[in-house]
Amino acid sequence: MSLEEDFAAIPIGLDLGEWEIVLDEKTIKDRAALTQWQTMDVIDKLKAAPPGQTINLHAKMQFAKFTNLRAAIWAKSEHEFLKPLKMGSKVIIRGKVVDKYIKRGRLYRVSEFETVDENGDVLMRSRETGIHVE
């Protein structure tokens, strides 16, 4: 199918699945290094992940779901931080498609994500808009 046909076939409400990640010290520090995070008190004193540490996983969840999608560009990103992502904890990210639209010939998809801990407490809410490209 073409890019446009694949886009047209995406239902609003499509479940993007559920991903788990254990935020051990190495995982947190590796991600901090990748993003050049230098304010280490959040890790060393608060024993938490820097804010936004798991946001890159949202993109991975989407590429895992849309297997025909070759490339995408991030257009908008919205996040609400509700509780720290604690070192040593397991967090679960759930996502779904909430909207899609075409503007100036570009294909925009809007997805929402919720990051929760093992008790079900919501740690972060996110809403992201990406553009599907060839």
Binding site: L34, Q36, P51, G52, I73, W74, S77, K83, V133
Partner: protein, 129 residues
Amino acid sequence: MATILKIGDEIPALTKNAYAPIEEDARNPIHKDDYAREHGMRGALVPGSTLLSYVLEMLYNHFGEKWLCRGRINVSFIGGGAVNGDVLTAHGSVKAIEAEDSGGRITLDVWMANQNGEKVVVGEASCIA
């Protein structure tokens, strides 16, 4: 430690030399030089999550622990994006201070510009301080 802010104040800016190694499991070719150049970009785009992280670090540096449970951010990625080697500076300027039940919510315009002054991220952030 957050200082007392008033409308128009800027929080301390944060500058990063953009760098994003290719992650082995990355699927999006927009982050690879060949594809990006074929599609008219200067080179592999630094991921939006990395650009966002630079802005978030500036906000965390000002608001501290409160950002982790009271922070909100809403940004758009604009212009031609950022490539490895760009010098990016994140900024935040207070645009509103409103009382909420749990404290005063400070809202800032946030943006990040490259070494040529071209904005690559624009938006708004807020935190109850």
